[in-house]
Symmetry: C2
Subunit: 623 residues, 2 copies
């Protein structure tokens, strides 16, 4: 008996396997549903509404996490729902992150210097007057027509070369990589060749499909990293790889499967792109852990001090050996890593931002699931990774969630009335009192806004503690006696529950911002600087977190707000730049060689600076 | 129910699959049984004697090809015998060719310049004072200790590098290829690394296991090419590849399977060699067809004029991509081809013979299943392939067989009495009248001796026709009225049948020798030479065919016998030399670039010279 699930509003349909949850089926279907806990049934974020069919009885988790109203409306948790017959479900919490949609700016044509280029040639057919072997005939043609000398031909291509040449009537276009290896051969005149750039984040994978010779990005999409089910941060992933016999294998399979799926969807979006023929190169950037897990490199060295990567060099590996199903002669290319946990994504961000171009000193902060910091000054590049945890991505926060439909992304708190208003992704404008907003939770930028607003409104004090004498009904204690502040009342939200910031949430934000703040201070001290001329904010920071709120809570130094420049999704931009340009790859290599990685966890100043940074800044420090 | 076959005298036992013949099971067991027709049940050569167990009833082929006496003695044909219960069989016609046994000369240490060398290093473990990544630590160690700069590390090795380094306590030996790629890493001090050289003949595959740094050959063995079942010569193999949907795939699988089996047996013979770790390189030489089929290159271009190979360049391909199960980071290396059907085996033979070293002019003739000829003169290297057919290997001859136990390898005919005496491989001394010799048939050298003897004794005339008035009982007509000469009487032989040379056999020899002779003349004419200063005889010629007999029948020009030098198994020697020396590979490349291939089938002089060469030389021309 086959059971199918249809997802709305996309209309995607997929057959489910035995024991497969709706969340798992959704991932296979490319229907990304937000799931904070990775499908463990604890976060309650992956709500779907059953609109047709008969679902099985509720699980214990669902009874605990969904309100009675929601349950009677047909709401279920995708991670708990094991279909026993055909179902149609409405996805309420789509995980589509905002970063990698194809904006006009993203699609703009860049100056290109791609590793792979097309060369058209018309060859003489074998005959008495010219009896060269096929490969040698091809190479002589490329030499005569295009001046390309000393080429090799990829082995998989050699195995079909005689057929391709004859079928094409000796009129072919060769794709030549680095001017020295023929990796593609198609009949007739050139047709576009493509590359795909992946920014492989701990939580989110962004993919870009790029036409190599024009430099045009023809499709972009983000998905959640399916490794999330094995742990939310890099430490959890490393533990999973080390503690389970096939842990590393599962992690690699999960991410490579996701990259293959993403490639397919990008090609479909662009239209007319054949993944296994037209995509000839894949550029992967990611932090050290994501990079290693995707490439099947052991992460054991990262599990113990001094946190040793298997390698830091750039790689060029046949895509087939990595398991990526692009052109069979295509390559997976990675940018170099900086060292320790500071990976190719940070190098890519540096490449995109190019902080040294303007001279002077610069600070780059890239906040993803971890925070990476680089200080550039007089030819030196100091870098560090901060274990901020995922608070700034909305994770490990009572009502936190990834940025996606239903996430509260901005919060304002009136210091007089202590009333909150907020904006929800997917809903227009600011909230009005008691109006339904469909809010599901708070994403990172909302959390930062909320905590900053609470501090400015005097709801919490300089040490982060709730001030006992607040008079608003929004400030209250929960059933366990913990103080909390209500951002959205239950009648406004999609879950029917109040969305709050608790004392514990404030503490999580304090620890995260203290780690980043202390990291910045260590790097500035090492560079002999008090501040830098410019501050580049990348990742969640660059895109969404309000620099003013960040300065209020001390996530960003007060002096930095005036100098802050949004660098957007810098790692993804750098990956695209490197995909499009051999010169950029060289530059990345040169920069990475100069990068000095500072391991904060053993740095003598870090612990003291961290403790000093836990309090919020005194008023005046941030304005 | 499992059925096992035990082979004697080796004692090897193997479980047979359903529908598997004893011949197939023998091949899997590494028990090479001579089979002329490749298992089609037509040649009657693959006789075995059932010594225990109950065999199934005789097949029609067996009833036709085995005499009643042989049948009552328990003789069967291995290719027709489908066991239905456990059997023990005595192998009577072992196919072990003589060429690749490990002679003292073969085992001698050569000057080596291998592509892969060992480098021992002791590394500092990661710690606060030195925090490099694993790969970079390894490469820094190799640079510091051995001055090796700019190395890459093979991807499969990278995937276990962190484990290997830590398990070895940072004391390791790296195998470095071409001074630029680390392809092996073992704990502790260097242990020997090996290469395997294969001379991939149409009929026979010779393998040599060589310790790379000492240059010592530690094992050598030959097996029959299992592709023989798909046709005896290159044209039949090409047809099989082109006419069957999975023809090329089966041919590749057959030969690669044989090479893997041979590697395993060589390692076992040598003792203490782990194929998948210690063998880091495989050198393959072979004619164009064998080369292409083994590497999975299409042979379609070879099927039509102008007989175009897919490529002629030397190749270096990861062994895993070819399907060879040596070290997972090891490479398959091939020598360049000359052009048309003149392949890497001829280039290898040239490398071994080095005919240009002594100046003057040289002729190299290498007879395998085809005949290849090279004329070297004043920096020119002219080459051609002659479709001699396999007569000189004993195939397509009424009582022909491969050289192996039971083959008549030498024949003398008394011109007075017309009596024959002969020598049998595996039996001591010359035959005595009516004495049992265990003869099974005639191998190539025996055929040439026999025809030469028949011509000198006046049994056949200058045109190859039997002389009608011969008075010996050995000269007779068979049941179809065809004249024949009896070399061995039935009571002397292992089959109980007379072994004869028929009129048709003489014709086959004439056609074969005319092709080779005409080829030599074309090449000499092209070179503007009447004769050469030296003549090198390689392959079957070099090893076994008597140059005097060859001159008598016109297989070799009369002037050549005095100048002839045996070059032994030159292709195999050249393969070993190239395996051991990067310089030899460069030399092969340089020579192959100078080789001018002449396609005899369309050469204006060839047909006329061929017809002129069909008669035997007049007495005086060869002495």
């Amino acid at each position: 008996m086959s059971i199918t699930i249809t997802f709305h509003p996309s209309g995607k349909t997929i057959e489910v396997s035995e024991g497969e949850t709706v969340l798992d089926a959704a991932a296979r279907a490319g229907e990304a549903i937000n799931s904070e806990c990775g499908g463990l049934g604890t976060c309650g974020k992956c709500v779907v509404k059953v609109v047709a069919g008969t679902p099985p009885p509720l699980s214990a988790s669902e009874r605990e996490l969904l309100s009675a109203d929601r349950i009677s409306d047909g709401f279920r948790l995708a991670c708990e729902l094991l279909p026993t017959s055909d179902l149609k479900v409405l996805v309420l919490n789509a995980a589509q992150p905002r970063a990698a949609t194809l904006s006009e700016e993203t699609a703009r044509s860049a100056g290109t210097d791609p590793a792979v280029r097309n060369y058209h040639i018309e060859l003489e057919a074998p005959g008495e007057s010219y009896v060269a072997a096929d490969r040698e005939r091809l190479l002589e043609g490329l030499a005569t027509t295009h001046g390309l000398e000393g080429l090799s031909v990829s082995y998989p291509l050699l195995k079909r070369l005689p057929h391709t040449l004859r079928d094409a009537g000796w009129n072919v276009t060769a794709a030549v990589r680095h001017g020295n290896e023929v990796i593609g051969l198609v009949p007739g005149s050139p047709r576009p060749i493509y590359g795909v750039a992946f920014d492989l984040g701990t939580t989110t994978i962004a993919g870009y499909l790029v036409e190599l010779e024009k430099g045009e990005t023809v499709a972009a999409e983000s998905i959640l990293n399916p490794q999330a089910r094995y742990g939310g941060d890099v430490i959890a992933r490393i533990s999973h790889a080390l503690d389970n016999p096939d842990g590393a294998v599962s992690l690699k399979a999960a991410v490579i499967g996701a990259l293959n799926g993403l490639s397919g969807r990008l090609a479909k979006t662009a239209g007319g792109v054949a993944v296994k023929e037209d995509i000839v190169e894949a550029m992967i950037v990611g932090n050290t852990t994501m990079h290693h897990l995707a490439l099947g490199l052991p992460v054991g060295g990262l599990g113990v001090y001094p946190f040793t990567p298997a390698l830091v060099c750039p790689m060029e590996v046949p895509a087939a050996e990595v398991g990526l199903h692009i052109n069979e002669c295509g390559y997976v290319v990675t940018l170099p890593l900086a060292g320790g946990f500071v990976g190719a994504d940070t190098v890519a961000a540096l490449l995109a931002v190019d902080p040294e171009e303007k001279g002077g000193s610069s600070l780059l902060i890239d906040i993803g699931t971890n925070g990476e910091i680089v200080v550039a000054h007089e030819g030196r590049l100091l870098c560090a990774s901060c274990a901020t945890g995922p608070a700034f991505e909305g994770a490990k926060i009572s009502h936190g969630m990834r940025a996606g439909i239903g996430a509260i992304e901005k919060v304002m708190i009136d210091p007089e009335t202590l009333e909150a208003s907020y904006r929800v992704i997917g809903s227009p404008g600011w909230s009005v009192p008691s109006g339904f907003t469909g809010a599901l939770g708070l994403c990172g930028s909302g959390v930062v806004d909320a905590v900053a607003g609470m501090y400015l409104a005097g709801i919490i004090d300089v040490r982060g503690a709730f001030v006992p004498d607040s008079v608003s009904p929004r400030v209250r204690t929960d059933e366990s006696g913990q103080p909390e502040y209500v951002i959205a009342w239950g009648q406004e939200t999609a879950t029917g529950h109040d969305i709050t910031i608790t004392q514990e949430d404030v503490r999580a934000v304090q620890l995260a911002k203290a780690a980043l703040s202390a990291g910045v201070k260590v790097l500035l001290n090492e560079a002999g600087l008090e501040r830098t001329d410019r501050v580049y904010l990348a990742g969640a920071f660059g895109n969404f977190i309000d620099p003013k709120s960040a300065a209020v809570i001390g996530l960003l130094p007060g002096w930095a707000t005036e100098r802050a420049v949004s660098a957007g999704n810098a790692a993804g931009e750098g990956a695209r730049a490197a995909l499009l340009s051999v010169g950029s790859r060289e530059k990345a290599k040169e920069m990475s060689a100069r990068m000095r990685h500072i391991e904060l966890s053993v740095h003598p100043e870090f612990q003291g600076l961290f403790l000093e940074s836990i309090n919020f800044p005194l008023p005046g420090a941030f304005s």
